[in-house]
């Protein structure tokens, strides 16, 4: 056991480090370092603009979408080189947030199912951040059960005409293209009547409306489609094969190894080290120490689980299924930590102002945002099902709508 790079890995790391030192936007380093828990704050600049500039610079230097083939804007790097790059990119990696859905989900789907022309036209600009992509899967009545979606596309000549509504679309308001799954045949069972497309988000009939979330912020959108025309050449996979195509996307969603999930533990440790209670520092309190220790070992456990995956990649092996636990553990932990940090502040714990002396209101924001961590990208319950079925080999749930034509499935519980 060791934590050392192989000679090739060390050489790659040195090259990456040198390039980053010479090219990274250092003027944002401090603000990015202070942006904790996934929330990026740049006082005087738009985060998407700064992100685009950094992404383009990386693409020009051959450091964008490292694991993609060169002809599609990547570097042809190995999985372990991609991990090393992420480690070296450090705080600047936070600037890649607007591109993550494109890079992690839409790009791989186009790569697997698109025509050669489509790949050469779209992937390099996706990699360089010049064009941002979003993913249009969830609908108001199709969340965890995404195959129950109702947006429809009808064939008219060489085109398709789309009507319907998508929801929870991150970044739709600044995206150039979208990956869209719709129903093309309501007369067959739900998984069999779906087809995948990509479309220009500026097409006539596309309307993006921000969603005001429970935490008061607006990060997600609803997207409405009214007679939106999509050429058949923008179809990915065969008609009716959309579910299979979507699996490529969703598999990639859960494959991001080495991506560090915020747990709130370092923030909480610092907070408890400084907070004075009636009898002394919070960190000297027995009850506080017990909770902190449990959270710390969970957080360490996630870190070392990712090290095990990185080790597998380094040997050219496929990582085991253990990485599937990351979001499940960190989401719940964030919520618990936020609530406990507020509890320690007593009545003042409910105050949310950034000028509040206790930890700048960060735990209050964390509490209000944390429910989404347990829902987005697979709810805790979906993730537990995945672990139970794919890792432990337990049977799938009984699906009463599996063989029923979609238009015969009941839509109300009572």
């Amino acid at each position: 056991m060791n934590f050392d790079d192989t000679p090739q890995e060390a050489e790659f790391r040195a090259t990456a480090r040198k390039w980053i030192a010479a090219n990274a936007p250092k003027e944002f380093e401090e603000e990015l370092s202070k942006s904790s828990l996934g929330r990026i704050r740049l006082a005087k600049h738009d985060m998407v603009d700064v992100g685009k500039a950094w992404q383009k610079k990386k693409a020009d230097g051959g450091w964008a979408c490292l694991h993609w083939p060169k002809e599609y804007g990547g570097r042809g790097a190995t999985p372990i080189e991609r991990v090393i790059w992420q480690q070296e990119e450090g705080v600047y990696g936070k600037l890649t947030q607007p591109f993550q859905i494109g890079e992690g989900m839409c790009g791989p789907t186009v790569m697997a199912w698109g025509s050669e022309d489509a790949k050469r036209r779209y992937l390099p600009k996706l990699a360089s951040g010049e064009e941002i992509w979003c993913q249009l899967f969830s609908e108001p009545s199709a969340g965890s059960d995404v195959a129950g979606l109702r947006s429809r596309a009808e064939k008219k000549g060489d085109n398709w005409v789309v009507n319907g509504q998508k929801i929870w679309t991150s970044g739709a308001h600044y995206s150039d293209y979208g990956l869209l799954i719709v129903r093309t045949d309501p007369n067959v069972p739900k998984h069999k009547g779906l087809t995948m497309f990509f479309l220009d988000m500026k097409s006539p009939g596309v309307e993006v409306r921000p969603i005001k979330q429970a935490n008061g912020m607006q990060e997600f959108n609803e997207v409405y489609f009214t007679d939106v025309v999509i050429p058949d050449s923008q179809r990915l996979g065969a008609v009716g094969e959309g579910w299979n195509v979507s699996l490529t996307t969703l598999m990639n969603e859960r494959m991001s190894i080495g991506a560090r999930l915020a747990t709130g533990v370092p923030e909480m440790f610092e907070f408890c080290s400084n907070l004075m209670l009636e009898d002394g520092l919070a960190i000297d309190d027995r009850g506080v120490r017990s909770k902190l220790a449990s959270w710390a070992v969970k957080s360490n456990g996630l870190k070392y689980t990712s090290y095990r995956a990185i080790s597998a990649l380094s040997k050219g092996e496929r990582p085991g299924p253990e990485n599937s636990i990351g979001k499940l553990v960190s989401g719940m932990m964030l919520q618990d930590i936020a609530a406990f940090a507020m509890d320690l502040q007593g009545a003042a714990g409910s105050l949310t102002g950034e000028s509040e002396e206790e930890a700048r209101g960060q735990f209050q924001q964390m509490l209000l945002s944390s429910p989404s961590m347990r829902i987005a990208g697979g709810t805790d319950e979906v993730l537990r099902n995945i672990i139970a079925e794919r890792v432990l080999g337990l049977p799938g749930d009984i699906r009463v709508d599996k063989d029923v034509p979609f238009n015969k499935i009941p839509t109300k519980g009572r």
Binding site: K303, K315, I387
Partner: protein, 375 residues
């Protein structure tokens, strides 16, 4: 980065699993559980023959001279099989104390016997309720004789020798504590067997009356050695706990696939699936913390105290969680003597306390993290 065991170490794990599957089936564990024997002597002999007892003992002292990573993979298998033998007391506590503090003569006297399965050792630390603390040690040493009572002492009733923590001063500092080596068969020690929740492992009360003892390590340095021994043992025992947790998870999973209720396998109900998924999460977090502990132990890294505490906490929680919910998945059958679930439940809850309780290690972890942050 190579944060994994080597192929040779994995082969050793496979060999240990094969050996224990054959030599330590539940039936063998039950012989001790039902009180037919104090421990499984045939298994103990077999472990010696396989070279497992001395795997981390240097060759000059009769061991295999492999290392602690090899011992970790064997520990995991011992925990999986809930082997009813004094492995942890002899190998993690007594042998490690000798390796850290023993003179050449002391090592030469006891380590080859440990490796050969001819001597059982233990650490006599506790004196009644409470966690490891120099303040709690009242047993007095003067002029090479010991007077006082130790309990609980793991495997104390079957041990041939004990490393005993004794008070040699009264300044109220750690330097009041020194270690002694006692041949338990040489007289001067009254042994009383105690019952405990884990019926497959023994606990005892040892009463020392003008008992002859030789110093182990320098006078006044006993507490430092104890701390090191406990850290090493914490990592090794954590591997046992992870092995036990994994096995309890497997038992629950297998039963959920097999048992049918309401016309379907109970493993198809989300209530059961989610319980098992959560057990998998606990066991996985614990395993990863243990790997870090193994790295720190095998390289004698400065991170060992923090890594050991983290591994201990994570593995204690995982084994307790998996053993408890394994019974829940089994329903009523899980609460019968006939099913093996209770053996894991017993072992999980006894092991959780052996080296000091969860809250003791939580305290230790926070202290150690603060020390690191301050540095």
């Amino acid at each position: 980065m190579n944060f994994d065991f080597s192929d040779d170490q994995k082969q050793m794990r496979d060999a240990a699993r094969k050996f224990l599957t054959e030599q330590c089936p539940p039936k063998a564990v039950r012989a001790v559980l039902d009180g037919k024997a104090a421990y499984d002597k045939a298994l103990w002999k077999g472990l010696a023959e396989m070279g497992f007892l001395g795997v981390a003992i240097p060759e000059q002292f009769g061991g295999a001279g492999a290392g602690h990573l090899e011992l970790c993979v064997i520990a995991e298998e011992m925990g999986r099989a809930i082997a009813p033998v004094p492995f942890s007391s002899t190998v993690y506590l007594a042998a490690e104390a000798l390796l850290i503090a023993g003179s050449d003569a002391q090592k030469q006297k006891w380590l080859p016997k440990i490796a050969a399965g001819e001597a059982i050792g233990t650490l006599a630390l506790f004196e009644g309720a409470g966690n490891p603390s120099p303040k709690a040690i009242k047993l007095a040493a003067s002029g090479g004789t010991l007077n006082g009572v130790k309990k609980p002492v793991p495997d104390g009733a079957i041990a041939d020798f004990a490393v005993v923590a004794a008070r040699t001063g009264s300044t109220g500092r750690e330097s009041d504590i020194s270690l002694f080596l006692v041949d338990l068969k040489a007289g001067g020690v009254e042994v009383k067997e105690l019952t405990n929740v884990d019926l497959t492992r023994g606990q005892a009360e040892l009463t020392f009356k003008n008992c002859k003892a030789e110093p182990l390590g320098a006078a006044g340095e006993g507490w430092g050695v104890i701390t090191q021994v406990l850290d090493r043992a914490a990592v090794l025992l954590a591997f046992e706990q992870v092995g036990g947790a994994d096995r309890a998870l497997e038992m629950g999973r297998d039963y959920a696939l097999d048992r049918v209720a309401f016309g379907r396998p109970i493993g198809s109900f989300q209530a059961i699936k989610h319980m098992l998924a959560d057990m998998y999460v606990s066991a996985t977090l614990a395993r990863s913390n243990c790997y870090y502990g193994a790295w720190a132990l095998s390289t004698n890294a400065g991170e060992l105290p923090e890594a050991a505490a983290a591994a201990r906490i994570s593995a204690t929680q995982a084994f307790q969680h998996c053993a408890k919910n394994n019974i829940q998945v089994h329903g009523g059958m899980g609460f019968t003597w006939e099913f093996d679930c209770h053996m894991y439940y017993r072992r999980a809850n006894a092991t959780a306390l052996t080296l000091g309780s969860l809250s003791y290690w939580e305290d230790a972890l926070i202290d150690r993290m603060r020390k690191k942050n301050a540095a």
